[in-house]
Amino acid sequence: MKRYLFSAFCVLTVYFILLGPFTRTMEQKPYIEKLGLIPNPRLLSALFPDYQELLAASIIGKVILYYGSLAERLDQPGKVIYAADYPAMSRSIHAALRLDPYNMDGYYFGQSILAWDARQYVLATKLLEYGMQYRTWDWQLPFFAGFNYAYFLHDKEKAAEMYMRAGDLSGEPLFQKLAGRYLQEAGDTRMAIDYLGTLAKNARNPALRQTLQVRISAFEAVLAIEQARDRFMHEHGNLPANIADLVEAGYLEDTPIDPYGGEFYFDENHRVLTTSKFAFAAPRVPSDDDSSESPE
């Protein structure tokens, strides 16, 4: 008996010695290695015919956990650092939605992350339109797509069409109002804030919620500058040369801070832009017109 206990003790000791380096090695593995190579969705659905929804949920769950693990120091939004492998995340989301085209988490995550961080506007919008073929009752997909068309792709006609569809599906007259309002030239910043507020509503994933809140605060700063600029123009008859003029003239209390670490400025058309482009550094950003991964 004593011999067995001694053997068990030795084996357990070695196990605990190995556990530390093993865990560290696993933590340092790149995403692709962590997730493993996701086989073709057709192959997966052929091998596991009854478990497509489970596989899709599992892949999306892994991507969400991976993304969550990248957001560090959530109590300091300005220091949230991303080093996400967006192409790998995009591939995973597309594979998952091929397996289960009804999975809302896939569309929500795709829209929240791919459109904003990876700047894959066309791809994110295609993904939403693919989802609309299946989730025919869901107003959120046309709402997201409407925003993409209006804000990123500047296709006001398609945006209005999508908002009307969201209005029809939700029964909310708000969307019809938005459709009309967003067709006006002004109001893009307010539109973005409204949109992000809807996206952030009920977002329970801490990393995602933090991301959206940072973005909302950045757009609120832009809105404050735009409103100050318009008041300046109205009262002086000319536009301010820079943001410091607005502070000096008392239209802004302080120079608004960009939570992404950049600095706000006026471009040649006096639009408010920021040197951060509303994003933290994200390596390996894929091309916007890379539509090769469309799920269709």
Binding site: A46, D50, Y51, D105
Partner: protein
């Protein structure tokens, strides 16, 4: 009836029920795991619950169906039974009915657990659309029907061979082929499939009508997203499943009646 009772008792004696109860402890983790979802917590709870039920039923169908007859031969139980005034056909059908009843009972028990777990989760996280319990019951029912068809195949393979491996791996192969048959047929009909040689397309078409089509039995997506069911399609699928099972059993009985049991 005696064989049915003996089969059920034998399954219970093997502590299969306890095994199922241990496996269903996973249900306890489902509410916590479901909260990882960002927008469809209840739907994820349904996905996990139905997949777990489906997996347990699949394992039971393959192993109970594949092992039952083989073990009787190994233990020489078959010889004793067949000396009784009982036809081989009745013996085989009794075994099938016993396993089938156990599967139905297990599906009902696991269905109840699904109801408890999903009700608990949906009380905290209201889904976009209310849970369709009818669709959930239909998904469980058709999963069970698919497993009964697999048990029939396992019995058929057992009637052919005394080996343990043929019934088990044969049934797994039928499960894989049956799950992929609709996809393969759709591919053959698609524009991409037109590039295949006519002979391959004809063979694929022929196989489609011969091998079972399990994709029709998978109603998980309807249950998870509360999508409406098509009664006509369900009736056709149920009829297809019952007739296919009956045919496989008739073949199994025919082969077993003529088999020499050394």
């Amino acid at each position: 009836m005696t064989i049915v009772t003996v089969t059920l008792k034998s399954i219970l004696r093997d502590r299969v029920l306890q095994g199922i109860l241990v496996a269903s402890m996973v249900f306890l983790a489902i509410p916590a795991v479901s909260t990882l979802s960002m927008r469809q917590v209840t739907e994820l709870a349904l996905t996990l619950s139905l997949s777990l039920v489906s997996f347990i039923l699949l394992l039971l169908a393959i192993f109970l169906g594949g092992v039952s007859l083989w073990r009787d031969v190994e233990r020489r139980y078959t010889h004793s039974v067949l000396t009784l005034p009982l036809g081989r056909g009745k013996y085989l059908l009794g075994r099938f009915a016993g396993i089938g009843l156990f599967l139905v009972g297990t599906a009902a028990l696991l269905g109840l657990l699904t109801f408890v777990v999903v009700s608990f989760v949906s009380a905290g996280y209201r889904p976009d659309r209310p849970v369709s319990w009818l669709a959930v019951m239909a998904a469980l029912g058709f999963d069970t029907l698919q497993c009964l068809l697999l048990v029939a195949f396992a019995v058929l393979f057992s009637s052919v061979s005394t080996s343990f491996f043929l019934p088990i791996f044969g049934t797994i192969a039928v499960y894989l082929v049956g799950g992929a048959s609709q996809q393969a047929y759709d591919y053959v009909l698609s524009p991409a499939g037109q590039t295949l040689s006519p002979a391959v397309r004809q063979v694929a078409g022929l196989l489609y009508y011969i091998v079972p089509n399990f994709s029709a039995f998978d109603l998980k997506v309807n249950a998870i997203y509360a999508m409406p069911l098509d009664p006509g399609s369900l009736a056709l699928t149920a009829g297809y499943g019952i007739i296919y099972t009956a045919f496989v059993l008739i073949v199994a009985v025919t082969i077993y009646s003529r088999r020499e049991l050394g």
